[in-house]
Symmetry: C2
Subunit: 138 residues, 2 copies
DNA sequence: TTGATTGCAAACAATTTGCAATACT
DNA sequence: AGTATTGCAAATTGTTTGCAATCAA
């Protein structure tokens, strides 16, 4: 199941960086820039390819927001595939939700609507607390 | 609030077509082709622009699937902004879910997690009944 | 007639691919 | 040495924009 053959410097540096900043999410360009800022330069193509791989392996989640470039964020390996994610459309914050309600929901949708929700692929969009407050003030 | 000034033939034909096929979803190219097949040709740009407008006005919903072109589908004006949608990642079918469970969920997420889900923008991805059966047989 | 709409062609932006140079084991 | 990986440049793809011609009011 392991898809790596060689352990390369750019890839491990990418993985480390994402893991050490697991509270943030990055576009390919963000990441490329950050990695280059560490000293050795890394090509954008490589970042694309390794992110794709990390997503496939499950340690990184990809978020697609309509017009913008995709965002990537480290997810703590196990667990994230089962719970849902909330993504704030305003500030981009990602919230992990792991509670019974979600499980019940999944169960309900399966039994009542015959549909098997893929929690790992599903993101609920909306506004986080902070951004909702912000809107009021405007 | 009405954003139309002139009523044009391409636009009304588009709207009609979408409404008359509200059980299906279309990419810009699908739609352009179908409209051209009706006789008078319509430019892709026009389709883009009018879809954008219909989405803004709320009569059409837009779905973004990662790599693929966006899909558009007529939604019966009122109501669709409040309920959730299930999108089958295999066959592309769109299912409208309007039941108490979802409302409760929204309520729960708001009170427990401080997050206001935007149902209109949120799509739950997974497999519909038909496609799940299909997978078993393979 | 005035202003909105159309649609072509060109511009853009995100991502992918071909391929020679390079790094890993 | 042999194979995977890198990274540039070029190609693709979905979408947007400039602008002159056309259409609705």
């Amino acid at each position: 199941m392991a898809s790596s053959r060689y352990e390369t410097e750019p890839r491990s540096r990418m993985a480390d960086y994402l893991k050490n900043n697991s509270d943030k999410h990055f576009t390919v360009d963000d990441l490329t820039e950050s990695l280059c800022a560490q000293g050795r330069r890394v090509g954008r193509t490589t970042v694309y390819r390794n992110l794709e791989r990390l997503v496939r392996e499950g340690s990184v989640q990809r978020f697609d927001t309509p017009g913008a470039p995709a965002c990537y964020q480290y997810v703590s390996g196990n667990g994230c595939a089962e719970h849902h994610h909330l993504h704030c459309t305003s500030c981009g914050t990602l919230i992990h939700v792991d509670c019974d309600y979600m499980d019940e929901l999944k169960e309900h949708i399966k039994s009542e609507h015959g549909f098997a929700v893929d929690a790992g692929r599903t993101v609920l969009y909306g506004l986080c607390e902070k951004c909702r407050d912000g809107e009021h003030r405007e």
